[in-house]
């Protein structure tokens, strides 16, 4: 009588499976979030026609993609043992840097696509446009984070100083983007988009807190 042989997949194979699963989950999440502008249309879109309407729709899609990628950015920066094993520390850092640039491009495109249909001279400034102004502040933070990260050595900014500033500024962008999206668009006055946004925010924060205080933080500290 022969004993059945138990063969476990190699760690590389498992990592590959996880990579596919995580990437698919991200794409699925992006697709779900992208449904919001269509199913929970803003009243602003009612009054936009032609090119203006196309631009505003595009701005909303791009803005929401940036939202998801900003949450992803926080997860990538927190890393954690699991992500380190699946992607490797070097790949996570590469993705974090690439994602940062992508975020800046998306944020800039979002702003332009929102402002052009309104007329570039008509900036939403003032107390009653505070959600838009939070968005403006968010863009400045993202731009500064990306620029200082890419040109840190060129401007001879010490690594410790850069990290001391980069981390809290990164956390701040997470809060700013949530507040901006929650209050700037009347789509998020509806229950489903609001709950989805809050759930994503809470899960991201839980991931970061979990990695930092509960789970084994990182396999290696290279960054």
């Amino acid at each position: 009588m022969s004993t059945p042989s138990t063969s476990y997949p190699s760690s590389e194979f498992r990592a590959a499976i996880y990579r596919v699963l995580l990437t698919s989950s991200l794409l699925l999440l992006l697709s779900v979030v992208m449904l919001i502008p269509t199913y929970y249309q803003t009243t602003t879109l009612w009054y936009k026609t032609g090119t203006d309407r196309v631009m505003l729709f595009a701005a909303q899609y791009i803005g929401l993609a940036a939202l998801v990628l900003l949450y992803l950015q926080a997860i990538l920066s927190a890393r954690g043992k699991f992500l380190d094993q699946v992607f490797g520390a070097a790949m996570l850092l590469k993705l974090h840097r690439l994602n940062g640039v992508l975020l800046l491009v998306l944020a800039a495109s979002h702003i332009l696509l929102v402002l052009v249909p309104e007329g570039l001279a008509n900036l939403p400034l003032g107390k009653k446009f505070w959600p838009e102004m939070v968005g403006g502040a968010l863009f400045i933070f993202i731009a500064l984070l990306v620029v200082f990260s890419y040109f840190r050595e060129a401007i001879r900014l010490p690594y410790k100083t850069w990290r001391f500033l980069h981390r809290p500024a990164g956390y701040l962008t997470l809060g700013l983007v949530t507040v901006h999206v929650m209050f700037v668009s009347d789509s998020f006055e509806q229950a489903v988009p609001r709950i989805l946004l809050l759930a994503l925010f809470i899960l991201t924060v839980l991931w970061m807190v979990g990695v930092k205080f509960i789970f084994n933080r990182k396999v290696s500290n290279s960054s």
């Binding site: 803003t42 602003t44 009054y47 309104e118 007329g119 008509n122």
Partner: protein
């Protein structure tokens, strides 16, 4: 030197006397807390109302000196307020006022005539988006009385309504009118309390 000083004094006296005899009518200051420029426009079936939070009105008015009286309204377009921020943003946009390019609207009176029964027709130039339009604003002088809460001050009350075709004044291209969404006739209500020391 003596002649020069004498000439200067004579000139100053002449200017002072002239302004006292032929000077502008009584000056009034707007009580902003109790004055407003409201508007109302059709939205499909309902009326959408709003007002401008920031405006200034310089007034010289004396019923006995109408030729010396004047009204100058300056409205900050960005201060448009319909109680819905998104709508205000849209009204400020290039679709309507384009307030970034044209931040102010003004109305400067040219001639005030007494239409009887306390009604004064204030004819002047309305400037919207840097273009001038003739406009007559009928203002009813509701009364002039000592301010009940501020001694030594008189308050004058004016109310007036006028209908404006927004499309004829360049506020919108007609796109939303053609869609049957936003009407073209805008009812303006001007209600003022003006203050002047006795």
């Amino acid at each position: 030197m003596k002649t020069a000083i004498s000439a200067l004094l004579t000139t100053l006296t002449l200017i002072l006397t002239t302004s006292l005899v032929f000077g502008a009518a009584r000056s009034w200051e707007v009580d902003k807390a109790h004055s407003a420029i409201y508007f109302s426009v059709d939205h499909i079936f309902s009326k959408t109302r709003g007002h401008f939070n920031e405006f200034d009105i310089k007034t010289n008015f004396d019923p006995a000196q109408l030729d010396q009286s004047s009204f100058v309204f300056t409205i900050e377009v960005d201060s448009i307020d319909t109680n819905i921020t998104k709508r205000d943003k849209h009204l400020r946009s290039a679709d309507f006022f384009d307030s970034g390019k044209f931040p102010q609207m003004t109305f400067t009176s040219k001639k005030i005539t007494d239409a009887g029964d306390g009604l004064y027709n204030v004819a002047g130039i309305l400037t919207v988006k840097d273009k001038d339009y003739d406009l007559t604003l009928p203002l009813k002088l509701v009364g002039v009385t000592e301010h009940p809460a501020k001694k030594g001050t008189e308050v004058a009350g004016f109310n007036g309504t006028v209908m404006l075709d927004r499309l004829a004044h360049g506020v919108g291209t007609g796109k939303f009118y053609d869609m049957g969404v936003v009407g073209k006739d805008v009812e303006i209500l001007v209600t003022l309390e003006l203050l002047s020391s006795k």
